[in-house]
């Protein structure tokens, strides 16, 4: 198994454990365990199976199983994205396997990027979102739980299948789509009316950094992508889960804890997002310095949205406060000393 995918799987398991421990008291832990455990097994299967075809079939199976969980969105709405992703990835696979003109490989690269975006739920294939839907049935599963492993698997397999020319096209598309997702996600997270939707858009913005990191084709880019994915799975997802805790009054607060959470979400020092951003800017400078300028300007867009999301936690108390402290502490630890994470992924 790819070391990067193995590490992300472990992180996903930790996020599932967090969800079980810090789920709202009224939530059924048995359902959460069954649904989360099934998702975990399917995600592991995506990483473990020996061929790309089997990984695609696993995505179909996972999409169908998730669509079967009772939720607010219709079956059609929930099935469309994973099915579209698999159809597009299957086309990419066909174009990679058949003999033909070199341009077919470029079409395959388009299919790989489009399929990945559709599966994860990135712009331009943003999954419809219902704010009060259970997390297990919502698009958050794809963007924060399955998506990181899926991206690592798809892009690492693509490296082995594409020619140099098509690989460069893939990298360029990843960077372009990454910049768009950064801007779209961070601005929408700031300006949207609904707080839950703002959280969802903030995942999208982080994925913009991930795509840029994978697109840089330098070791710094890949390291940055891994650290941002760490931040998504072990930072943003747990904080989102805590933010969904029902409270007596939906108040916003600007206490110290809210500012700390906002700083963590914005990727300030000493959190893991900061280390990722430094690596990303260093890689972009090596590759093409104007890109670093664009990325640096884009990173500023995180601030207003993160302040809003930090305030949305209100004044966490009891178990909720412990959950926030745990997520923040893990992010600080990884931000101060990210080398073990990178070494475990052999990066």
């Amino acid at each position: 198994m790819l070391p990067e995918a193995a590490e992300l799987l472990v992180l996903a398991a930790a996020a599932l454990l967090f969800a079980l421990v810090f789920a709202p008291a009224a939530a059924s832990r048995r359902n959460l365990l069954v649904q989360g455990g099934t998702g975990m097994v399917a995600t592991a299967a995506i990483a473990v199976v020996p061929t790309f075809d089997l990984a695609l079939l696993t995505i179909v199976g996972l999409g169908v199983m998730q669509a079967g969980i009772p939720g607010k969105r219709t079956l059609a709405v929930r099935l469309r994205a994973p099915v579209l992703a698999v159809a597009v990835l299957a086309f990419a696979l066909v174009f990679l396997r058949v003999e033909g003109p070199a341009v077919l490989e470029r079409f395959a690269a388009v299919g790989l990027v489009a399929g990945l975006a559709a599966a994860v739920g990135l712009f331009p294939y943003i999954h419809p979102f219902a704010a009060d839907e259970p997390v297990a049935a919502s698009p958050i599963v794809w963007i924060a739980f399955v998506g990181p492993v899926l991206a690592a698997v798809v892009l690492s397999r693509a490296e082995g299948l594409l020619s140099v020319d098509a690989g460069q096209a893939l990298a360029a598309m990843l960077i372009g789509l990454g910049v768009i997702n950064m801007a779209w996600g961070s601005i929408a997270s700031w300006l949207t009316d609904d707080t839950a939707a703002a959280w969802r858009y903030s995942f999208l913005a982080d994925w913009g950094l991930v795509l840029c990191g994978f697109g840089l084709t330098l070791s710094d880019g890949r390291r940055a992508a891994l650290l941002v994915l760490f931040g998504i799975v072990v930072g943003r997802l747990p904080l989102y889960l805590v933010s969904r805790e029902p409270r007596a009054e939906r108040v916003t607060s600007e206490g110290p804890i809210n500012l700390v959470v906002a700083a963590a979400l914005a990727g300030s020092a000493p959190f893991v997002g900061f280390a990722a951003r430094v690596l990303l800017l260093r890689g972009a400078t090596q590759l093409f310095w104007p890109l670093a300028l664009v990325l640096a300007l884009g990173m500023l867009l995180w601030l207003p949205g993160s302040l809003r999301l930090g305030r949305s936690l209100g004044r966490p108390r009891g178990r909720q406060a412990f959950g926030v402290a745990l997520a923040v502490a893990v992010n600080v630890a990884a931000g101060l000393y990210p080398l073990p994470l990178l070494a475990a992924a052999k990066l």
Binding site: L57, T58, V60, V64, G71, A76, V83, A87, V94, E133
Partner: protein, 180 residues
């Protein structure tokens, strides 16, 4: 000759799924596409793979025959865009399979492209669960059949996996959306 005929039947079956709203039409389309894909896979990847694919797809078709909107529902009023999609998609797939790409088994290339494309398009254009699940089953079968395009030694697992998904997807509990 047989492979060419099977490629045409695969397109015909996928087109019937695109053009049908009733469970009989959907079951017929799924069965036709399944038999065609199984025949092509049988000749390329061996009998076990072909039989596995066939059993999975025919189970899905049989299940569809019992659940869904009653009747055939083939080409209901307003289905002209779907008809154009079937003809246009088939011609495009034929051009890609025969004119643009080369290598062994053009029938397999055509069948995979046309079934995956039409099934994917059907999922995007319908909200009816019986239609969606039939299309998902066909997409899984086409994805598995695509593993026959590789030069490497063929494993049985993609075919078995696709058959399991195709056979199982019809039993998905179809819960109605609920309010919070």
């Amino acid at each position: 000759m047989i492979e060419g005929l099977a490629g045409f039947v695969a397109w015909l079956g996928a087109s019937v799924v695109v053009l049908s709203d009733g469970r009989r039409g959907l079951a017929l389309g799924a069965a036709l596409s399944t038999l065609a894909l199984a025949a092509i896979v049988f000749s390329g990847a061996g009998p076990v793979a072909g039989i596995a694919l066939g059993v999975g797809g025919l189970t899905a078709a049989a299940r569809r025959l019992t659940v869904g909107v009653a009747g055939w529902g083939i080409m209901p009023p307003g289905s002209t865009p779907r008809f154009i999609l079937c003809v246009g998609g088939g011609l495009l797939a034929l051009w890609i399979a025969l004119g643009v790409t080369s290598g062994h088994s053009s029938a397999l290339r055509f069948a995979v492209i046309t079934v995956a494309g039409l099934a994917g398009a059907r999922v995007l254009s319908s909200g009816e669960s019986s239609v969606l699940l039939t299309s998902v089953a066909l997409l899984a079968l086409a994805t598995a059949a695509a593993s026959g395009l590789t030069e490497e030694a063929l494993a049985i697992w993609p075919y078995v996996g696709a058959a399991a998904i195709a056979a199982g997807v019809g039993w998905l509990p179809q819960s109605a959306p609920r309010a919070a």
